[in-house]
């Protein structure tokens, strides 16, 4: 195989592009100069053209006669994802935001309800004490109340009368 060893890789690429009509004018002129002045380059160009033309011997396959009909039948049964109208899309966006806000509110409330101490609950639980707070304030400590109870001074008579 005769191969032009005088061409650089760039010149080889330019030669192919020149043969394909893809080279700009200054580069094309340079390639033309090379072809005119160098037998090996001229031979290389000829071989590139002929090898490229040999691809024409390949048989060109055609689609079967029923291809179009089969393809159309197949695409028609495929589900169509309809493009939403602008209004429908806007409504969908708003609905999504609304649902998100509601969900955020529910989650926030649940968290607050679970972890944040409820002062009202504490008051409710201690309501009996609060209702008698004035009386309890009068009593300095419970030890005195126990001694009073143990003394029996305030025990009620068995017949229920006061003496």
């Amino acid at each position: 195989m005769i191969r032009s060893s005088s061409l650089t890789q760039k010149q080889r690429a330019d030669l192919v592009a020149y043969l394909d009509g893809e080279l700009d004018e200054p580069a094309a002129k340079e390639i033309e100069r090379l072809i005119a002045s160098d037998n090996q380059v001229r031979h290389e160009a000829d071989m590139l053209v002929r090898s490229f033309e040999l691809l024409d011997v390949l048989p060109q396959q055609r689609a079967s006669d029923t291809f179009t009909a089969q393809t159309m039948a197949t695409v028609r049964v495929s589900p169509r994802t309809a493009k939403p109208t602008p209004m429908a899309r806007r409504i969908g966006v708003y609905a999504g935001w609304a649902a998100g806000l509601v969900l955020a509110a529910v989650v926030g409330f649940s968290i607050a309800n679970r972890w944040v101490p409820d002062e009202s609950r504490m008051l409710i639980e201690n309501l009996p004490v609060i209702q008698n707070l004035d009386m309890y304030t009068e009593v300095e400590n419970t030890e005195f109340l126990r001694e009073l109870q143990a003394s029996g001074l305030f025990d009620e008579p068995a017949d229920g009368t006061n003496q």
């Binding site: 195989m1 080889r12 690429a13 030669l15 192919v16 592009a17 394909d20 893809e22 071989m47 590139l48 002929r50 090898s51 490229f52 040999l54 691809l55 011997v57 390949l58 048989p59 060109q60 396959q61 055609r62 689609a63 079967s64 291809f67 179009t68 089969q70 393809t71 159309m72 197949t74 695409v75 028609r76 495929s78 169509r80 994802t81 309809a82 493009k83």
Partner: protein, 207 residues
């Protein structure tokens, strides 16, 4: 129905008649889509046959391309010529097919390959018929096999670029868009493809 010509100045690809058909398909015109299928089916099957070397697989891949185009019609925007966009889809499918299935070469059965029981009657019939073929036809068939083998020995990207350039007449710019490469990369790729092809067919050319 077609897009108004006043719009073509703003979107240059609107002048492409196939883009017009695709826009009609986008509006629900299945007949327009059928026209696109009919226009491109042979070209797609041809390209795929050179790549996968199997007619049935090539038709399946071509149908896959049209399915993807049909599914994408709602969001289609003409950012390139229709053929460029179509063959970009084809290129991606070809790459996937080759990656998933590997290359299956169809080796013509010869008498020598028949096994220990000798040639089957059909094989003998084929061999006999070959012997009756005019020499010219036989030579052409052998040349075709040689060229096909040379094409098969290129790597996937070189082969695709060569096929698009040769059989689709695509420019370097179009190939760059189709294969998602730069123009200079396409130039380099085609240069190597053409050189490799030339080397492998040197004996055929010299004879």
């Amino acid at each position: 129905m077609s897009v108004a010509t006043s719009d073509t100045s703003q979107i240059p690809y609107l002048r492409d008649p196939d883009v017009q058909l695709m826009l009609r398909a986008q509006q629900g015109d299945d007949e327009a889509f059928a026209q696109l299928v009919a226009a491109y089916q042979d070209r797609l099957v041809g390209i795929f046959t050179h790549i996968v070397a199997n007619r049935e697989t090539a038709e399946d891949l071509a149908q896959d391309v049209f399915m993807r185009v049909y599914r994408a019609r709602d969001t289609y925007k003409p950012a390139a010529r229709f053929s460029t966009w179509l063959f970009r889809i084809a290129n991606n499918l070809a790459s996937n097919a080759r990656r998933n299935a590997g290359r299956r070469k169809e080796v013509p059965l010869s008498i020598r390959d028949s096994g220990p029981l000798g040639p089957r009657p059909q094989e003998k019939l084929i061999a006999d018929k070959s012997a009756l073929l005019p020499t010219r036809q036989l030579a052409r068939r052998e040349l075709c096999e040689t060229v096909r083998a040379a094409l098969d020995e290129l790597n996937d990207r070189q082969r695709m670029a060569l096929l698009l350039h040769k059989f689709e007449g695509m420019s370097y710019d179009d190939i760059a868009v189709t294969m998602e490469m730069s123009n200079s990369a396409v130039k380099s790729l085609l240069s190597r493809a053409r050189e490799n092809l030339r080397e492998k067919l040197d004996a055929q050319i010299q004879s």
